[in-house]
């Protein structure tokens, strides 16, 4: 390994990529305008979750050929039902971290590290479910 004072990096076709991105964003708005005018059902296949969120009335998230969840963009964002949907929707992506669910005097708590334990709100849906598990991944989105 040599010692360099600087590195020069260049993404392939960077100018073209930026143009393409602008074009895609422009087309997204155009597609939405056309749809609002003609009102015909459109099935739009994309791997770009921002496209899905911004264009769709209903999103169908598929993983390995299997439908994971169907819902409005807001439902997908606020109430993802699987780890895959939670990790796919939203930019920046949700935070995922392993945790332990513990019982404290004040109710349930999520223990993230030895020092950090966060209480689970009483009205949380999962707190009322009968099936509680010892170890889980906690998720909290950056967009809060």
């Amino acid at each position: 390994v040599r010692d360099f004072t600087a590195f020069l990096g260049r993404a392939p076709d960077q100018a073209k990529a930026a143009d393409l991105r602008r074009f895609q964003i422009h087309m997204r708005t155009e597609i939405k305008k056309i749809h609002q005018r003609v009102q015909t059902t459109v099935v739009f296949v994309t791997h770009d979750q921002i496209e899905a969120m911004t264009l769709a009335d209903r999103i169908v998230v598929m993983n390995q050929g299997v439908i994971e969840q169907v819902g409005t963009p807001d439902e997908m964002y606020s109430n993802p039902r699987t780890h895959f949907v939670a990790s796919f929707i939203g930019s920046p992506s949700m935070n995922f971290t392993p945790c332990h669910l513990t019982k404290t005097a004040g109710g349930l708590a999520v223990r993230l590290t030895d020092d950090i334990s966060l209480p689970v709100p009483e009205n949380a849906r999962h707190a009322t479910r009968p099936m509680l598990i010892r170890k889980c991944s906690s998720v909290f989105g950056p967009n809060m």
Partner: protein
């Protein structure tokens, strides 16, 4: 996760951590910090951001937390 705010929103919880990386986006600044084995991204108000390596207070909105069963990948 955001910078610590003075909202009395009930379900918010605080974490102090050192800033690993800053990504200024203009309207927000993404702040990355370590929490145990994980790197967490917080969306923060640009004027509230500490320098890299310095400590910063964060708030977790527990109302928007999800718990995932690692054996099924389902949100519980």
């Amino acid at each position: 996760v955001t910078e610590r705010r003075q909202h009395a929103n009930g379900a918010q919880q605080d974490i102090d951590a050192n800033v690993n990386v800053l990504e200024p986006m203009g309207i927000d600044t993404m702040v990355f910090f370590s929490l145990g084995p994980t790197e967490i991204c917080a969306r923060t108000e640009p004027s509230a951001v500490s320098n890299v390596g310095e400590s910063m207070g964060f708030t977790v909105n527990m109302d928007k937390m999800h718990l995932i069963d690692p054996s099924t990948d389902a949100v519980i």
